[in-house]
Amino acid sequence: MGSTQPRRIEERIARELGLALALLAIALAQAALMPRLLGSTPNLMLLLTICQALIVGPANAARWAFYGGLALDLGADTALGVHALALLAAVLVTAPILARFSRGNWLLPLLGAMLGSLAYHTMLGLLTLLLVAPISPRVYLQVVALPSTILVLVPALPLFLSMRWLEGRRRGEVPVDVY
């Protein structure tokens, strides 16, 4: 009886550590492996976090955002917490706005990726403005935010469908699509 609680805590810590390490591996791959298109790399971490928020919910996705953001900061040598805050902003904007959409709706990942990417870049731009140097919001939008958003939209649907399928299998659900 007495050993149940400690085991649960240990399991939870091991799970969190596993998640953090997996996201660190993804962040390293994103920083070092992903190809550069339109001056940016497709932001896999952002897309994973948004899909997680849409499929599982904001609380779970917030953990992904935090671990993934810290991993990106380590890989990119930006101030620790900057990417975590940007990813958390993406989760906090996307999940409540799209909460009423069915997970079976194919538009959900595209809207989610668009909203999430814009929220992410707004927060990142704001933090850059505060911590690094002044930038023009209009030009930042044109040169950084919009190309990155377009790049994120391309793999949004296949990644969302894969993650939804995996989550469905985990829960034993039958997927229903709305066209």
Partner: protein, 297 residues
Amino acid sequence: MRDSLRNRPIKLPRASPYRSLTLVVALVLLALLLVVLDQAGMLGSTRAQIQTLLTPIMRALRQVGDGVNGVGQGLTEVTQLRDRVAALEAENSQLKASDLQIQALQLQLARLEAQLRIEKEKPWKLLGADISGRTPDGGRRLVMLAAGSQQGVKPGMPVIGREGSSPPSLIGVVETVGPRSASVLLITDFSSAVSAQVYQKDKIATGVVQGQWQVGSRLKLEGVERADPLVSGDVVVTAGLTARMDTALPRAAIPKDIPIGIVESIKVDGHSQFADIRPYVDPDRVSYAWVLLSQDE
């Protein structure tokens, strides 16, 4: 639903909305705290230790990623794609002729030869290193170098790159240094400003080269007096003003006469001139660079 052994209802776990909200708010606050602590320099040593562990992994990934990057860049520019195909064909024939170990040695030899050539031409002492990582988004132009304080790298040291037949040119400045890795701010980043000069017939025009990537171009030469008219094709080199002053500033190590790029177009505004600069080396394409450790006087 009932527990068949104990004959009592099973309580399914339900996520409390307050607990979820608390978790999200806690993570946001924690991230904010990390930003503040990092800005205050309190996480520097921990961060350096983690990056020391990550650098070899990123270096290995980067080598794999270079091939993928080549394809991505080629897709965006047809001419680059053609050049890349030609280079890959040549490289492929070489690969067939020699095994991987010899290739690695050849690469090392080529880099050392390039370094020796540069050191023969210029009074520089260089340290070559792989570029192990880049910023994952378009917000800033930083690269991670697989060399750090253990190899003698210090903040403020200029970083040189070479591409094809270009002269060895400035691509960035070391910003922060860990034991075995260093973060380099590329000259194309909008927060990068380097004093520069253009040699003219009987005088020297001076100005500041400002990064312009986030505002749609690459480099801009600013603050050149109108009395020193710039011409398209003029060569822009570093002025080395901070190095000449010999201050104890962390960014005082850029010597003069490091090539930067060529003047492409000129605009006149009041008493000063602005010029768009085409860098000799595209920092985004460099996978190996040299840190200028010192210069013989």
